[in-house]
C-alpha cells in the first residue's frame, strides 16, 4: 500500500516535471514573442508618428475641427492617437500569437478568431476618424453657408449633417468589426429613416411657415426677398 502511494506520488511528480519541461520552453517562447512584439510595435509607432508629422495630419485635423473633439474627450492629438492605436493593435497581435504558442486547448480557436479581428478593429478606428473629420468639416461648411445666406435655423441643418455622417460612420465601423451585423444595419436604417421622416414632418407640419418661407426664398420671386447690399468691390 505504501509503495503504491509512493509510486503514485512519483508518477505525479514525473508528470509535473514533464509538464513543466514541456511548458517552460513554450512560456519562454511566449515571453520572447511578447518582448519582440513590444519592440516591433514601438518601432512601427515611431515610424507612423514620424510619417504623420511629415504629412501634417494634426494640422489637417485641427482645420477640420476633429482636434477640438479629441480635446473635449481628453484624448491626445490625432497623430498620437493613431500611432498609439497602431502600437496597441500590433502588440496585442504579438501577445495573442505568444499565448497561442502555449498550446492551451480551447484557447487556440478563440485567439485565432480574435486575431482575425485586429485588422478589422484598426480599419474601424480609421473609419470612425474619417467620419469624425468629414462630419465636422461638412457640418461647419453648411453652418457657414447657411448663416451667410441668411437661412433660418442654420444650426439645425449643421447638426443634421453631423448626425447623419456620424450615424453612417458608426454603423460602418461596427459592421467592419462584425458586431451584430444585421442589427447594426437594421438599427441604422431605422434611425436614419426615422430622422428623415421626423425632419419631413417637422419641416412640413411643425414648421409650415418656415417651409413656406424657405420655398418662397428658393423657388419664388427672388426680387421680392432681395435686400440691397452695396457692391463690395
Amino acid at each position: 500500500m505504501k509503495e503504491l502511494v509512493i509510486q503514485g506520488l512519483r508518477q505525479a511528480y514525473d508528470n509535473l516535471v514533464h509538464m513543466f519541461a514541456e511548458f517552460l520552453p513554450r512560456l519562454l517562447v511566449m515571453l520572447v514573442i511578447i518582448v519582440v512584439g513590444l519592440f516591433v510595435a514601438y518601432f512601427l509607432k515611431t515610424i507612423l508618428r514620424a510619417l504623420l508629422h511629415v504629412t501634417r495630419l494634426d494640422r489637417l485635423s485641427e482645420e477640420a475641427g476633429a482636434s477640438r473633439f479629441l480635446r473635449m474627450a481628453a484624448l491626445p492629438s490625432m497623430t498620437e492617437l493613431l500611432s498609439r492605436s497602431l502600437f496597441w493593435v500590433t502588440w496585442s497581435g504579438f501577445i495573442l500569437i505568444g499565448i497561442s504558442v502555449l498550446g492551451v486547448a480551447g484557447l487556440q480557436e478563440q485567439i485565432s478568431r480574435l486575431f482575425l479581428l485586429l485588422p478589422a478593429i484598426f480599419v474601424a478606428i480609421l473609419i470612425l476618424f474619417l467620419g469624425l473629420v468629414t462630419a465636422n468639416f461638412l457640418s461647419r461648411a453648411a453652418l457657414l453657408a447657411a448663416v451667410n445666406a441668411g437661412y433660418p435655423a442654420p444650426k439645425l441643418l449643421s447638426w443634421s449633417i453631423r448626425f447623419v455622417i456620424w450615424a453612417l460612420a458608426i454603423s460602418m465601423a461596427l459592421e467592419q468589426v462584425g458586431v451584430a451585423r444585421q442589427t447594426v444595419i437594421a438599427a441604422f436604417s431605422i434611425v436614419f429613416g426615422a430622422f428623415m421622416f421626423g425632419l419631413a414632418i417637422a419641416f412640413g407640419l411643425g414648421g409650415r411657415e418656415l417651409a413656406r418661407e424657405f420655398l418662397e426664398r428658393n423657388l419664388g420671386d427672388k426680387k421680392k426677398e432681395k435686400y440691397e447690399e452695396p457692391q463690395p468691390l
Binding site: E63, F137, R140, A141, V147, E229, Q231, P232
Partner: protein, 423 residues
Amino acid sequence: MAEESFLADDFLRQLMSVGEVDLLVGIPSHNHASTLLQALHCVEETLRQNFVRERAVILNVDGGSTDDTRKLFIESSERRDVAHKGLTSLRTIHRISVEYDRSPSQGLALHHIVAAADLLRARACAVVSPGTTNLTSNWVANLLRPVYREGLDFVAPLYARSRFQGLLARDLLYPMSRAVFGQRIRELYSDEWGFSGRLATQCLEKEVWQEEAMRARPEAWMAITAIGGGLKCGQYFLGPKPASPAGTSPDLVDAIRQTVGNLFWCMEINEPQWLNRSSSQPVPTFGPDHELSSDGVPASPEKIFDLFRSGVNELEPILASILAPETHAQIKAIALSDRLKFHFAAELWVKTLYEFAASYHHSVLNRDHLVQALVPLYRGRLYSFLLEHANSSPEVMETRSEMVCQEFERQKPYLVERWTTKH
C-alpha cells in the same frame, strides 16, 4: 523654360510667329460674346492713337466659353486686318486667341498672359476685362503709358465711385494692405491693371500659379510681388467705375472669399517682406487719388444688421476659436446693442481683422471656413458705416477712411505680435 511645360503647342506656335513686341494687352474672357467686340475695339483704338510705332499684340485668353467669344475674336481679327490695310502699315497689331482651360480662372489666364509677355519680350502689358461696360480707349492707354513711358512696373487703376460702392475695398482691402505692405495702392483688386515685362518675368519664376488663392484673384499678388521686388508701383485715375450688371459680379461671400482669402495668403507667403515694415508710403499717382459721388443709402440696411447679429450668435464657437476672448466679448456685446445706436468702432474692426489674419496664419481651422466666418462681422461693420455716413459728404467720408487707414497702421505691432506668437 518653365512656361514650356504648360503652354499648348499651338499657342507657342502663334507666339513664335509674332516675334518680339513692345506692348501686350491681355483680354481674359469667359462667355463675353456680347461685350468682347467693344473691348477689342477700345484696345485697337488705343494702340492706333497712342502707340503708333510700337509693335503690339492683343491676346485673348479664354476660360472655356460656351458662346461665340473666341470665334468672334478670331473672326473680328480677320475682318479688321482687311479693313485697316494701309492704315496699320507702320506697325503690327497681332491678335492671338487661346483657350487655357475648360473653366474660367483669372489665375490661369494671367499665367498665360505673363508667359506670353515673357516670351515676346513685351515692355508694357495691360489686362482689361471685356466685362467692364464703360471701358474706353483712354483706360487702356492710361494703364500702358506709365509703364511704357514712365518706367513703372505696376499700375493699378483708380476709379470714381459712388459713396457706398466698393466698401470692401475701401474699408478693408486698401487700409489693411497699405498698413501691411507699406504702399498706398487703393485698388489692389480690380479688373484692369498694367505691368511691365520685367515684372511679368519675375512673376513667371514664382511657384505659386497652382495655388487655390491665385485662381480667382491674382492681381494683388502681382502688385505685392512688385513691392517685394523693389519695383515701382503707381496708380492712374481712369474714371467712374460702373456697377456690374446684376448677377455678373461675385456676391459678398464670394468677394470676401476671393479677395480677403487672397490678401491673407499674400501676407502668409510674403511674411519676411512686411513683418518689420512700420509705415506706408504714397505711390506715384496720375490724376486724383480718389473721387466719391453722392448717392443714397442702400435699401433695407436693417437686414444687414440682422445678418450680423444672427451670424455672431450662430457662429459663436467658430469665432471663439479665431478671436481673442476680449475681442470676441466686445463683438458679442455690440451685437446685443440697439440697432439704431449700433456702432462698430474702427479700433475693434482693425483688431478683429488682425486676429483673423493671425488665425489664418496659424491655421486654427480650415482657411476657407475662417475667411467665410468674417462675412457676418463685415456686415456689422458695413451696417455701422451706413448708419454713420447716411448723411455724410464725400469729403467727410474720405477723412474718416483715412483715419481707418491710420488705425490699421497704428495697430500693426499687434498684428505682428499675434502673427509671431506660437499657438
